[in-house]
């Protein structure tokens, strides 16, 4: 995958340190006809966002090296990447966590556990908006 090549399908970056969830989300998104690239931690996620400029990033909140908030902040700081929409994946359900996610610049959030329909609907809502 390269940033210069025109894409036939939207590219979604999925980052989660839990491999099972990473593969589950990836599988569901691929089934929904998105191209998916995976990252295992925050640092890798940020590197891939800068390299590939995906159409959307789905980031887990609690990740090693850089957490979800920090990755969003870095993405928003860079002129090249600041327009890339971000969905936060979180197992934390306290309102303060959600509010903090939006403050950091998230476009939407998805609570774990989520149904495949919910995941698809939220991703479509954001990519359709563009």
């Amino acid at each position: 995958v390269s940033e210069t090549e025109p894409r036939s399908r939207p590219l979604v970056l999925v980052a989660d340190d839990d491999r099972d969830i990473l593969q589950l989300v990836s599988f569901r998104l691929e089934r929904a006809d998105y191209e998916v690239v995976q990252a295992n931690d925050g640092e890798e996620a940020l590197r891939l966002v800068k390299e590939l400029r995906p159409d959307l990033a789905v980031l887990d909140l609690m990740m090693p090296k850089l957490n979800g908030y920090e990755v969003i902040r870095e993405i928003r700081r860079d002129e090249e990447t600041k327009a890339i929409p971000v969905i936060l994946l979180t197992a934390r359900v306290q309102e303060a966590d959600v509010a903090r996610g939006f403050e950091a610049g998230a476009d939407d959030y998805l609570k774990k556990p989520f149904s495949p329909q919910e995941l698809r609907a939220r991703v479509q809502a954001i990519l359709g908006r563009r």
Binding site: D18, D20, I21, L24, F27, R28, A91, K112, P113, P116
Partner: protein, 449 residues
């Protein structure tokens, strides 16, 4: 925290001790002050005696002069000298002499004069008179010496001694009063300082304990939040992969495989609910849960909850009805109130046997609106009702009939209702059904009941 009684006891004891010491010191001060005042009064009296004695001495000196004049023929012999008693008395009364001293003086004076009068009565001739005068002079001198002057001197010296003693005692008493007053003051100051320092240390200790409690509370909060997260992540995978299988992503399933996977999925959901309930209870206890209020119609919320509970009721053969009695506007957190209604309705359905009825009613009750969930199920005993809203409490019926639940639903319902300034109550008796009643503040009644 079982701490407070001990420090309070210590404070009470210390206060009583200090108060007692101050009281004793003040009492000693007052007694000594009184002694000093009495001594001063006695000293004043004694000084009066001394003054009287001095004036008596002066009188005697004058008398001797007169007698001497008479003897030398320079002065006519005064008849009033024959009765010095009255003079002496008037002399004494002018100085307000004390009674015992007066009697002593008067008696002495009288004794002296009796002899004089007898000698003078016998002397008829001038020569005799002159002789008599000398004799009288001698006699009077002697008599005055021994009868008046000596006792007077004794009296003066006794008075002086007494005066010195009284002075000394008064001085001692007033010094003691002064010392004890200072002592009382010092105890009061020391007690006050000690009390202040103790109170200060106690306040610090309580503050430190509170800080520790807050820290522990935060730790518990973080712990529950972490546990909830740790449960949620694997459950997300379990639920997700079960869904993949159920969706046929790994090939088509037999009916039995589908049934088994559905059961696994239902139990994963149950675990997720438990994790969510635990987190919610922890948030309520930490005071970190807040309401997002929005005005709305209670009737609409009831209808949604009843619709959600319908499949479970139908599956169990329980008839479920809503009987709204007017439209009521309430200002509530819709999601939270829905949680309360779901809890109450699922309980009612769970504890009502097939063929039974569950009814939801709303009605106005003064400035509130009452929402009732009535069932004709198994009911509960009075002793069970007492514990019903406690965390993890499960009734004997729930345990005996293996009805699923964590014992958190009603705890959560109560917390939510009370956060809305409402009240939740229950009426029930064994075999006679149960009625849960939720009272919420009414914004207004849209249609009169």
């Amino acid at each position: 925290v079982a701490g407070p009684p001990a420090p309070i006891g210590r404070i009470a004891l210390a206060s009583a001790l200090v108060a007692g010491l101050i009281a004793v010191a003040l009492a000693v001060t007052v007694v000594n002050y009184r002694n000093a005042v009495d001594a001063r009064q006695r000293a004043a009296d004694a000084m009066g005696d001394v003054a009287a004695a001095r004036s008596a001495e002066k009188y005697l000196a004058r008398e001797r002069e007169t007698v001497g004049d008479a003897v030398l023929g320079l002065h006519p012999f005064r008849s009033d000298l024959l009765a010095p008693r009255a003079l002496l008395r008037s002399e004494l009364s002018t100085v307000g002499i004390a009674e015992p001293s007066e009697r002593r003086l008067v008696r002495a004076a009288l004794r002296a004069n009796e002899g004089v009068n007898a000698i003078f009565a016998d002397a008829t001739r001038l020569e005799d008179r002159r002789l008599a005068a000398f004799r009288i002079f001698d006699l009077r001198l002697d008599r005055w010496q021994e009868g008046v002057l000596a006792p007077l001197r004794l009296l003066v010296s006794a008075n002086n001694r007494e005066l010195a003693l009284i002075e000394a005692s008064a001085t001692r008493s007033s010094r003691r009063a002064f010392l004890f007053a200072i002592f009382a003051g010092a105890i009061a100051i020391a007690g006050g300082l000690g009390f202040g320092m103790y109170a200060d240390s106690l306040v610090r200790e309580i503050a430190a304990r509170n800080k520790q409690l807050r820290r522990l509370d935060r730790m518990k909060d973080d712990f529950v939040s972490a546990v909830s997260h740790e449960l949620r992540t694997p459950l997300t995978s379990i639920r997700g992969y079960l869904d993949l299988l159920l969706d046929g992503e790994a090939g088509s399933l037999t009916d039995e495989q589908h049934h088994f996977l559905t059961i696994a999925g239902r139990n994963a959901d149950r675990l997720l609910r438990v994790a969510g309930d635990l987190l919610f209870v922890a948030q309520v206890e930490a005071g970190t849960f807040s309401l997002q209020r929005q005005p709305g119609e209670l009737d609409e919320l009831v209808r949604q909850a009843v619709d959600a509970a319908r499949p479970a009721a139908a599956e169990k053969g329980v008839e479920l009805e809503a009987e709204p009695d007017g439209l009521f506007e309430v200002d509530v957190d819709h999601a939270r109130l829905a949680q309360v209604l779901d809890n109450l309705l699922s309980n009612a359905v769970k504890f009502t046997p097939a063929g039974g009825h569950v009814t939801v009613r709303t009605r106005r009750r003064g400035e509130s609106v009452a929402l009732e969930v009535v069932d004709d199920g198994m009911g509960m005993s009075e002793s069970e009702l007492e514990h019903l809203f406690q965390r993890f409490y499960r009734t004997s019926g729930a345990i005996g009939q293996a009805i699923q639940g964590t014992g958190l639903g009603l705890t959560i319902a109560k917390a939510i209702v009370e956060a809305h300034d409402g009240r939740i109550s229950v009426m029930s008796s064994p075999g006679d059904g149960t009625t849960f009643s939720v009272e919420l503040p009414l914004v207004r009644a849209l249609v009169a009941a």
